[in-house]
């Protein structure tokens, strides 16, 4: 009796194991398959929209099929996956490359930063930055409009004496970057009463509902419009300028030479306002990312 049961359990285990391993063999590295590129994105709207634009552009202009891995957990996940070949490309920001990946001090000259990350990425990681999309996204410090009026806040420095009674909230990544919370509080000599981490999309709600008083924002965020937030001027020029563009593995570019030309069609095509508008369409108008991306490409005559 116990023996037969033992065998039964064993058989089930073996079957399940077999299932697991056959099931997982599908996860081959991206480059091993012919005619396919894997496009990643980080887990916030703007990056997802941009990766969708890339995907649809490639699908329209080349014979390649595209696999989407959108919504990956932040810069480090995307970057490591790109290095290891799990991804072929994803949209990234030059400032992120400079500060978060290369661990270099902040530099406020956008062209210098672009040239620097281009060279270092080429040499160290065999990854190439395409031509910038055009918009310049940077961190910004935002407060509720009424808070700004009440304390007549214009610049980030104006905030410093008030920080003792204020709560700061941001997405987790902001707390882990030298050009984020630590650097900002040091340069501006701030001591917040408390700081909290949120999912990117929730921090604006948190400000609006007065759970927090101050948050970081991306200057292209559509939510700034909806939640009526005021961006304070970065008067000490702490936040570096972030050009955004696609970063691609060099061996992918070599394998599919048509890719580089295709991706560079997006050079200087997306202004700050346009990016903010795209973000707004998805985040606030609740429109489908695919539709918004496709519409944008059509409007630009790219597909």
């Amino acid at each position: 009796m116990t023996k037969t049961r033992g065998f039964l359990v064993l058989t089930v285990l073996i079957l399940v194991l077999a299932l697991i391993f056959t099931g997982c063999s599908g996860g081959d590295k991206a480059q091993q398959e012919n005619g396919k590129v894997v496009i990643g994105s980080k887990n916030f709207n703007e990056n997802i929209i941009l990766s969708e634009i890339l995907a649809q552009l490639i699908e329209a202009k080349t014979e390649l099929t595209v696999e989407r891995k959108q919504n990956l957990g932040g810069t480090m996940v995307c970057f490591n996956a790109l290095k290891s070949g799990d991804l072929d490309m994803y949209p990234d920001y030059t400032g992120t490359g400079l500060v978060a990946v290369l661990k270099q001090p902040v530099n406020t000259d956008p062209q210098e930063v672009y040239d620097y990350v281009q060279k270092e990425y080429n040499d160290q990681f065999k990854i190439k930055w395409m031509l910038p999309f055009g918009f310049n996204n940077t961190y910004a410090v935002a407060v509720r409009q009424e808070t700004a009026e009440e304390h007549t806040l214009k610049k980030v420095s104006d905030l410093t004496p008030l920080t003792g009674q204020m709560v700061f909230g941001a997405e987790q990544e902001f707390f882990n970057r030298p050009d984020g919370y630590d650097g900002m509080t040091k340069i501006y000599n701030m001591k917040f009463k408390e700081h909290k981490a949120f999912e990117t999309a929730l921090k604006y709600q948190a400000v609006a509902q007065k759970k927090i008083d101050v948050t970081d924002a991306f200057s292209t965020d559509g939510e700034l419009i909806t939640y009526n937030l005021k961006i304070l001027e970065d008067d000490k020029k702490f936040f570096p300028p972030y050009f955004c563009t696609t970063i691609v593995r060099m061996d992918t570019l070599k394998k599919y030479p048509e890719l580089e030309k295709t991706l560079n069609l997006l050079a200087d095509q997306i202004s700050n306002d346009e990016m903010q508008q795209l973000n707004y369409q998805v985040a606030e108008k609740k429109r489908d990312t695919k539709d918004v991306a496709g519409e944008f490409l059509k409007k630009k005559g790219l597909i």
């Binding site: 697991i20 957990g73 490591n80 996956a81």
Partner: protein
Amino acid sequence: MSAVFSIALEHLWLSVAGVFLACVIGVPMGIVILKIRVLAGPVMGVIDILQTIPSLAMLALVMFFFGLGNMSLITALFIYALLPVVRNTFIGLTGVKSELLEAGKGMGMTGWQLLWQVQLPIALPVILAGFRVAVVTSIGIATIGTLIGAGGLGEPIWRGIQLVNTPMILSGAVPAALLAIIADYSLGLLEKSVVSRGLQVKNTN
């Protein structure tokens, strides 16, 4: 609807795969530390520490070895499932009354026979309870798998959070909760059904 169903199935498959791996390795591990008692402290210590690693950090670490996708998620779930599986195996086996072991020995049972015919059947409900905890926990943890490119119900949940789209969040969260409840209930039934008849009589007292 069918899309949700297939994602939910994938979610269940991923969760259970990790826990099954943990059983395949964890149950023998529990037996080994029972036999070689000096190992019990260190092994449980290491497993305890692994358990304290935050789940997103664990996924990021595992990703170094297995890259993006399901394999990394399954590995992380496997690591988290080790604690309940190994601990319950160990506790279940050590909880067998010494008079029962003596009786077995008195009947001339070998060490293997004791383990297979006395200790394991008595410990089985406890071991399965560990399995049950592990499955339910895994179903929860698997929702963050989407952050490393794995499938499952995490995708609508995370996308819904970003879009502040409650119906989308619920389309992932509700099936995940249902999966956990169904898994818990059916494993509870399994737990009852595997108790050997002799022990069941005792339990009703």
